[in-house]
């Protein structure tokens, strides 16, 4: 009985810890993005709140919380109020299966540094990432506004298209690691990370997650200069904040998935595992921001053509070749 209680307590502690780390990481990613983008465009970025602008996320939070929470007339009220939470929730839930460090030894007990090591961890991630569409789609539809609806429709079709390529680019990883469990996938790449063993899969996955996170060059669902704000045009206050933070949480989650699936997760020399994991995730987040600072937005037909005519056949071909090579090696 006490064993079970300890396990339950451990899970709760891990949950709280991960929750806090991810939320603060997302908040400071917003600041990092603004700072880095500003430096890339020869500006200073936010530097008024606190030393070097470090308190900017707090200021933003207070501003968003004190703003009026507005529901447009003729909107579907319940869905409108629910949608932002949905989009942040699906992003947060994904982290339950991501292993962020090697098992720890505390008081003679082995504590795996993952909240729940599902044997279908990878499928759980794919399932939740396909559910992430709902927050955006329902929010856009419930606002009862043309801009929102257009943004939501664009987002839906984009996410459906790139999810296929993303799912297929992960298949070789499962074939090489022979498991759906993320911990075992990390353990399978102790020697060589899968990014080096199978670079096409890595590239396809990387492009797909940029599209999944709805960022430049794939930010058509919320392209400011045609759709005002896309699916979150009508949102204000903290509900807009939830959409916004959800996007950055998503960035952290997708970066973690890339780390786990292709970059060897927590493995690395000298430093402890958790530190390596965080370094890798932050590097990927920096890459996301860098891409945003240097790429233009794709046109809609380019986006669709690229997804269906280039990425998808490539991913299928890659599955085929990986299978053949694995058979050949035995």
């Amino acid at each position: 009985m006490t064993e079970q209680l300890i396990m339950l307590g451990l899970i709760l502690v891990k949950l709280l810890l991960v929750f806090g780390v991810i939320l603060s990481m997302a908040a400071y990613l917003v600041l990092a993005e603004r700072k880095i983008l500003a430096r890339m465009q020869l500006r200073y970025g936010p530097n008024r709140a606190g030393p070097g602008g470090m308190m900017q996320p707090m200021a933003d939070l207070i501003k968003l919380l004190t703003k009026e929470d507005f529901v447009p007339a003729q909107a579907d009220k319940w869905l409108f109020l629910l949608a932002p939470g949905l989009s942040a929730l699906t992003a947060l839930l994904t982290f339950a299966v991501i292993p962020f460090g090697p098992p720890l030894q505390i008081f003679g007990q082995t504590v795996p540094l993952v909240i729940c090591d599902l044997n279908i961890g990878l499928l759980y991630f794919l399932g939740l990432s396909s559910l992430a569409v709902y927050g955006m789609a329902l929010g856009g539809w419930a606002s009862n506004s043309k801009y929102s609806l257009l943004g939501a429709i664009r987002g839906l079709s984009q996410l459906i298209s790139y999810e296929l390529a993303m799912g297929l680019s992960v298949v070789p990883v499962v074939m090489m690691a022979r498991s759906f469990s993320l911990t075992e996938i990390v353990l399978a790449q102790q020697q060589i990370p899968f990014a080096l063993l199978n670079p096409p899969a890595f590239l396809i996955f990387l492009i797909s997650i940029v599209a999944e996170s709805k960022r430049i060059p794939f930010d058509l669902p919320e392209s400011e200069n045609e759709l005002v704000g896309g699916f979150h045009t009508e949102y204000s206050g903290m509900r807009f904040g939830l959409f916004f933070v959800g996007e950055y949480i998503n960035m952290v989650i997708l970066g973690s998935m890339l780390t786990v699936l292709f970059l060897g997760g927590w493995s690395g020399p000298w430093l402890p595992g958790v530190v390596w994991f965080i370094i890798k995730v932050l590097a990927i987040c920096f890459f996301f921001i860098w891409v945003r600072g240097s790429m233009p937005r794709l046109r809609y037909d380019q986006l669709m053509n690229f997804g269906w005519k280039v990425l998808l056949p490539l991913a299928l071909l890659n599955v085929l070749i990986t299978g053949a090579v694995l058979l050949w090696i035995g």
């Binding site: 599902l118 044997n119 789609a137 419930a142």
Partner: protein, 175 residues
Amino acid sequence: MTATLLFYILGAIAVIATLLAITRKNPVHAVIYLVNSFFALALLFYLLGAPLLAAWELIIYAGAIMVLFLFIIMMLQLSPTSDTIGSGETRRQWIPVMLLTLALATCTLLLTALDPSGAEAVPRWYASPRDFGYALFKEYALAIEIVSFQLLFAAVGAFYIGRPERKKTEPGGAE
């Protein structure tokens, strides 16, 4: 004990959500209830020892098919406040549903009457993704292929039945 309790809770959620999905007039609300019911179903699969099936249920039904439904509904541009479809329903449209429900209820009643302790129920077993995959694509590969062919027939049949009426060629018509 907890598993049994969870089973009944999830079962109730699935049934209620599906009922609500059928009776909603607003198609988007119906989609949401249906997604709810798929969720409950996926958790039931997980509870019964088939995690792979649970994940597929979520990815394919909730994540892909219902998203496509939602996409089509949004393309039709129904505003959230208008109850456009299903306004002219009659009692006769309920007959198939009632018949199906009645048949299902009778089966359940017979089952519980014949075997009240549930002793004959399949023993609980756990299908790891590997076992499940082997069973699906090796042991029963032929059966799976045949079933998937049936899906193809159904798709072709639906296309055939739903094809646009060929218009009589009018003189000078644009067709």
